[in-house]
Amino acid sequence: MTVTNGVTNTLTTERVEERLRERFPDAAFRRQEGEAVRDHTLFVPAARIVEIATFLRDDPELDFAMLSWISGLDLLPATPRFTVVYSVLSLTNNLRFTLKAELADENPAIPTVAGVWPTANWHERETYDFFGITFTGHPDLTRILLPDNWNGWPLRKDSPLGYQEVAFTHNTPGRRKPTPSLTKLKPKKVRYRAQ
């Protein structure tokens, strides 16, 4: 039992980790170490994320009915490079818990949890849009905030900020080509008379 700012919690994050270890004795769980890791964070195997998510949601003691957010994380040049972070929230226990799943460097992919929490649909689309992480089995894995024909994954660390060409109709593949008469226009040469 913990008391924070006058609010009492009966369930603790330590107990959540203990329950997960009891339920999945063969899975490789690892708590994230670090003095300034302010929220209890547990690394879970990526392949088993759907099982773990379903357990967290359906277990009557834990009751993590809400998925708060999903985020990608690029740790270039470390390996494994990509991480997907899930922050789950139990309304009845008033508790947050963070899960992390590490992914391979090449073609990072992880099963979708959109079947467990419907809200994951857009979160996963956003993570795909920014990091290029594939969520296998996702019902509609398309770009959500960037244009459909955008090249690259902007929140990866090897994607630069700035210096890109501004996307117009004439330099974006798949857009309508400008009329030929406009492309033929060239700036007029200006001759300066010698003094």
């Binding site: 700012n5 006058g6 609010v7 957010w69 929490w117 900020l161």
Partner: protein, 389 residues
């Protein structure tokens, strides 16, 4: 038939586009399409110090700048491990509750305008203007406030500020009565909102909806009560809940009730600030993270060094991660920082409530009429700047 609603349609509150699949007037499927205002704030934050990201947040939910500032600052404070002094927290609470009133005023005005009640719009914008003048008085900007800083505030309160807030909170309940007189028993308003765009509690939780959208569905979840920040546990207020199954009218009543509760909290905050003194401590004296007062910079060598260090390259947080959420006018607004020990965050994730609440739009409108889509969008209270970030 496929009907394209937006992105330039006025009732989509910005540049939201909804692709509607229709059978006559009945909506078979609705697909929100967004990203027209995407400016890559999360990417830009990786190239800025924590303080430099504060002005970015003003442009997210541009109707509630103070709440956005506060969410970022609280996340950074949690990462660093510091807390602002009590007087600064009271000022933050006061400003955030005024922000909630003004954001709900804009919501009510535009929502009513969508449905066809024009008078409410003018009434609401009259009161919103007063809040914007209060912002102007306290920080010099009407919309892009950037007033809250890591460890406290940018500057102390100006003279006569508390009297001005007192006048506002004294007048506001009568204005909320005016809005209610126009709408709450108006048969047209009731016909357009009651039973329209329903969202059950189970659906709302599954879809991750927060704020008035979740409370409208009858779920007692308010971060100010459940996970208090800025000493909210010491203020006296009630959480508003919807009572008739989570329709648009429920969300209307929840927000109207919240405006009254915000007035109540703001009044308590003004009272508390009067007791603490109109001028006083507004920033933490931890000069590794917080700028020293200007007077000391002019007289003390040490303060000057701290000032120079923080201005030149920002403060150095420890290596770690922190997530902190607040109850913004739209719902749970949270920031997640990953720090590698340098003055710039390695990753900043924004959990924006409008983005996630909008996901419940298809559930609300599928199988219903086209006209109800407009009510549903209005009752969700979205801001596209925050959705697209």
């Amino acid at each position: 038939m496929t009907l394209n609603m937006g992105p330039q349609h006025p009732s989509t509150h910005g540049v939201l586009r909804v692709a509607l699949e229709l059978d006559g007037e009945t909506v078979l499927a609705a697909k929100p399409i967004m990203g027209y205002l995407h400016t890559g704030m999360e990417k830009q934050a990786e190239y800025k110090t924590y303080t430099q990201s504060i002005p970015q947040t003003d442009r997210m939910d541009y109707l509630a700048p103070m709440s956005n500032n506060l969410a970022l600052v609280l996340a950074a404070e949690k990462l660093v491990g510091i807390t602002a002094p009590a007087r600064a927290q009271a000022i933050r609470v006061l400003l955030c509750e005024l922000t909630r009133i003004s954001a709900h005023c804009v919501w009510l005005g535009t929502h009513a305008l969508d449905i066809g009640a024009m008078t409410v719009f003018f009434y609401c914008f009259r009161e919103r203007e007063k809040v914007l003048s209060i912002y102007d008085h306290v920080c010099g900007a009407r919309m892009t406030a950037s007033y809250i800083r890591v460890g406290g505030l940018a500057m102390d309160l100006p003279d006569g500020f508390l009297d001005r807030c007192q006048t506002f909170v004294d007048e506001m309940p009568a204005h909320i009565d005016e809005y209610e007189k126009l709408l709450t028993k108006n048969p047209i308003w009731l016909a357009r909102t009651q039973g329209v765009a329903p969202l059950t509690a189970k659906q709302a939780i599954g879809l991750g909806a927060t704020g008035p959208t979740l409370r409208g569905s009858g779920v007692d979840w308010d971060l100010r009560k459940k996970q208090p920040y800025c000493d909210y546990e010491t203020y006296d207020f009630d959480v508003q809940l919807g009572r008739s199954g989570g329709d648009a009218f429920d969300r209307y009543q929840v927000r109207i009730g919240e405006m009254r509760q915000s007035v109540r909290i703001a009044r308590q905050a003004v009272q508390r600030l009067r007791e603490m003194g109109e001028h006083g401590e507004y920033r933490l004296r931890d000069f590794k993270y917080v700028l020293p007062p200007k007077d000391e910079v002019r007289t003390s060598m040490e303060a000057l060094i701290h000032h120079f260090k923080i201005v030149a390259h920002g403060f150095f947080p420890p290596v770690g991660e922190a997530y902190q959420a607040i109850e913004a006018p739209k719902g749970e607004l949270g920031f997640w920082f990953v720090s590698d020990g340098t003055p710039r965050p390695w990753r900043m994730k924004v959990r924006s409530p409008s983005f996630i609440n909008l996901q419940s739009l298809p559930t609300m409108v599928e199988g219903r009429l086209v006209a109800d889509v407009i009510t549903a969008i209005g009752s969700l209270d979205i801001v596209l700047g925050e959705i697209d970030r």
